[in-house]
């Protein structure tokens, strides 16, 4: 066999029920589906039959890396976790990215991916070392928090061991439990921590010293030199004020610096605070914050206007973030969904004393309240048993009439009703409404298009990027021009690519250097694809996922529009604009036209799938009567 560059050529399959592991060849998969998210779509197509539920032993927990993972390609230290997601509503195949140092360790241990299925008879963890894997007993780890689990495993297997694990929330099969590594890196969305818990799998532990070969080192270094962001040396920032959420905390007595969240990153967008004293875990001294995590400190402008949801200060916020990590709960769900919902519902006076007694009164300005909430959710105490199912299912169960659509009409610039009962079961994400009103009309129409065919929150790993001239053209005629669908489709393909190669989902794609993915791919693997050719693979991956969602969940136009439109029919959070249903319908037509999907059903045609090299997939859909002719 000729030299393999970028990939390792192997997938590890683990059957927890029988306690067996085996190795399969990955080359057929990676050449067609790259790795990461894209390869997961194909593996799920083959391994997850229709009807599989999230907590069934037959569900697969698939964790894959891509050709760039573990190489000096900038911000490449990522992996994608996929399977039937416990958090999605209804339960369906979904995904979550994770960074940190576990992804390169998977590669260096000799694997392009890991597929775990079955249910271990007793708590266990998977130990991987140099092309070998063992299932080990985890009786002594069960019940421990994520930090304590990692500390114990590092003591046992060495400080260099990389660990992905679950806390008590995952063990208790919470639908909002994460798979966590280190302190703030997690496969957060999807409830894959709960899926691991249902399999009695406490942790995946990797000790690796292998290597990944790179076809064109000089080109890779050249690209890194040209496109990375070397900065002058920036020393630590010493104390003083700290800005977040358009709000400033004065006189923060702790020093901080910026750090990378993942292997091989050329940026450093996370905050690291030093020597902040801990109450719950005195051994911990520091913590990382990025994205939603820092909103534990306080959320002052949830709709872009002054409307404080809570404010509890840096030290308490610090502690709460770490508790969420320790117990293994989804920060996005708690901070971007559950707690805002509880605050608003409480202000409306709809939380019944009886049902919510464990967490009443709702006092998020007080750190003690957060501890009470986190414990109730983690250990399923009282209302926590329902909250552990996620905000969407909680509202669904309690009744959308009282707890859903009318949840807030308080003191705001535009007093509109909002809901945290949104499509596919996740808290919102930059979709122009409610506490996620970052985007204004018409920009969120693009998010609406990508959300329509997604399985998660509106932006998932897509994080829409567009050149200014594209956006300007789109804004001139948002509903009718080709630009909205065009930008959405370009981002969907790039989203598949970045989570498959793998690259950071926040900084890619770079609209100033749109051929960077294909150049990095060529440098690492030696396979020369033009930008257009690689985009075509992105399209293949999107269609592979589409086929899976159609086969397993009968997804179609009607179902998808019904899921997202109630959200967009609400006035947005900045100008009070409602999406025009019939105009959006026409926009959807254009989106399908550009995709080569049937307009009536929103399903790929046989010809489209065959063009993308997915003839066997088209064949199976045809046999099931689920394909447009």
């Amino acid at each position: 066999m000729s030299e393999i560059y970028g990939w390792t050529g192997r997938i590890l399959k683990v059957d927890l029920t029988r306690g067996k592991t085996e190795m399969v060849d990955s080359l057929d998969y990676v050449h067609k589906y790259l790795g990461g998210k894209g390869m997961n779509h194909r593996l799920a197509w083959e391994e997850i039959p229709p009807g599989t539920k999230a907590f069934d032993p037959e569900n697969r927990l698939i964790i894959s890396v891509g050709p760039l993972t573990g190489t000096p390609a900038q911000a490449s230290g990522r992996a994608t976790v996929s399977g039937v997601a416990a958090q999605s509503y209804p339960e369906m195949y979904s995904h979550s990215g994770v960074g940190g140092w576990v992804p390169p360790a998977i590669k260096y241990a000799g694997f392009d991916g890991i597929i775990i299925h079955g249910r271990a008879p007793k708590p266990c963890y998977l130990y991987i070392e140099e092309n070998k894997a063992k299932i080990k007993q985890a009786g002594d780890l069960w019940g421990l928090g994520n930090y304590d689990t990692q500390k114990k495993l590092k003591q046992r297997h060495g400080e260099e061991t990389r660990i992905l694990c679950i806390g008590p929330a995952g063990e208790n099969m919470s639908r909002i439990a994460v798979l966590l590594t280190d302190t703030e890196n997690a496969a957060g969305q999807g409830g894959f921590g709960g899926v691991a818990g249902s399999k009695n799998l406490k942790a995946i532990c990797i000790r690796a010293s292998g290597e990944v070969k790179i076809a064109r080192p000089d080109l890779l270094l050249k690209l890194r030199r040209e496109n990375s962001h070397p900065k002058e040396f920036v020393p630590i920032i010493d104390k003083g004020s700290w800005d977040y959420d358009g709000h400033t905390l004065n006189d923060v007595p702790y020093s901080r610096n910026k750090v990378s969240c993942s292997h091989s990153c050329d940026r450093h967008c996370w905050w690291m605070f030093h020597d902040v004293p801990r109450v719950t875990r005195p051994g911990l001294h520091s913590g990382k914050w990025m994205c939603i995590g820092r909103f534990t400190v306080g959320w002052q402008r949830p709709m872009g206007v002054n409307w404080p949801l809570w404010q509890q200060g840096l030290r308490a916020g610090f502690e709460i973030t770490e508790l969420l990590n320790q117990y293994g709960l989804n920060e996005w769900e708690i901070l971007g969904g559950m707690v805002p919902w509880l605050v608003m519902a409480d202000r409306e006076g709809v939380l019944s004393r009886e049902d919510f007694r464990e967490i009443l009164p709702i006092t998020p300005d007080r750190p003690e309240w957060w501890v009470k909430l986190i414990k109730a959710v983690t250990y399923r105490q009282g209302i926590g048993d329902l909250l552990a199912e996620g905000t969407y299912r909680t509202i669904q169960q309690l009744g959308t009439g009282r707890y859903g659509d009318t949840i807030y009409h308080g003191i705001r610039k535009i007093p509109t009703k909002i809901s945290l009962h949104a499509a596919w079961g996740y808290a919102g994400h930059w979709s122009g409404r409610g506490i996620h009103s970052v985007l204004e009309f018409p920009d969120y129409l693009i998010q609406a298009l990508t959300w329509m065919t997604a399985t998660r929150d509106p932006e998932d790993d897509t994080h829409i990027r567009a050149k200014d001239q594209w956006m300007n053209a789109f804004r001139k005629d948002p509903y009718s021009s080709q630009w909205g669908p065009r930008i959405a489709i370009w981002n969907e393909h790039r989203s598949e690519l970045k989570s498959s190669l793998t690259l950071c989902d926040t900084i890619f794609p770079d609209t100033n250097r749109t051929d960077l993915e294909s150049r990095l791919f060529a440098a690492v693997t030696g396979i020369e694809y033009t930008e257009k050719e690689l985009d075509k693979i992105g399209e293949r991956l999107k269609n592979m996922q589409r086929a899976l969602l159609i086969r397993n969940y009968d997804r179609d136009r009607k179902q998808e529009l019904a899921a997202i439109m109630p959200w967009f029919k609400r006035p947005d959070g900045t100008k009070g604009i409602q999406v025009d249903g019939s105009k959006f319908d026409r926009m959807t037509d254009e989106y399908y036209r550009q995709r080569g999907w049937q307009s009536r059903t929103g399903r790929p045609t046989k010809k489209k799938l065959e063009d993308l090299g997915l003839a066997d997939v088209a064949g199976e859909l045809h046999r099931q009567g689920k394909i447009a002719s």
Partner: protein
């Protein structure tokens, strides 16, 4: 922190007792103690071999004392938080030497203590009295004529790991590649036009090529 001229050693790096206990060859003991005692070596100073074990066993003469390296990879600041913990240094190090990346190929080490919020790189000091150089029984450990870097010739290395065991730093700053069964160490990228790759590509500009004049 304490330092010896030509060696930039930080507190905690040097655990002499561990090294001595591990030493298989008697002469290493004398040499290590010599450094610990602050003896400053220079060209012409003969390294004493207290019992001549190496000479007797392997029939080689002690190698002449090498000239000091022109410099070494160092941190721009003693503050460990300058490192953002991305690992780029390790990756480009392995890539420039071996056309690959992986933990066994790196010549410097990123150490992250995530629960303490500390990242740091462990670096070869290009010691003035390079124990690795004296310990190598095959003369695979050589001195580059230009940079005076202490480097390993992969073709001559037989993988005995004597150099790794002799390194006075803890952990040793020489890596072992099990695939090729050879030791690998920092050679200051002696064959690279742009100088050390780790210094060039560190996104935080936290590493520098330090000469004795720059020493902090």
């Amino acid at each position: 922190m304490f330092g010896i001229v030509g060696i930039n050693i930080r507190k905690g790096d040097l655990k002499m007792k561990d090294r001595i206990d591990k030493s298989r060859r008697g002469f290493l003991k004398g040499l290590s103690l010599g450094i610990a005692g602050g003896i400053i070596g220079g060209p012409g100073i003969v390294v004493s071999d207290s019992n001549g074990a190496l000479q007797a066993a392997e029939g080689v003469s002690p190698r002449p004392y090498p000239p000091p390296a022109t410099g070494r990879i160092a941190h721009v600041s003693l503050d460990k938080t300058v490192c953002v913990g991305c690992g780029t240094c390790e990756l480009v190090c392995a890539l420039t030497h071996d056309d690959a990346s992986g933990p066994s190929l790196r010549r410097l080490w990123l150490v992250t203590k995530n629960f303490q919020g500390v990242s740091d790189t462990l670096l070869c000091h290009q010691c003035s009295a390079p124990e690795c150089y004296f310990a190598c029984p095959n003369e695979a450990l050589n001195i580059d004529p230009k940079s005076k870097a202490r480097y390993i010739d992969p073709d001559a290395c037989e993988g005995c790991q004597a150099c790794i065991e002799s390194c006075p730093l803890n952990p040793p700053r020489i890596n072992f590649d099990p695939d090729r069964s050879i030791a690998v160490k920092c050679d200051l990228c002696k064959d690279r036009d742009n100088g050390p790759a780790c210094v060039e590509f560190c996104p935080q500009k936290a590493l520098t090529f330090e000469t004795d004049g720059d020493e902090k």
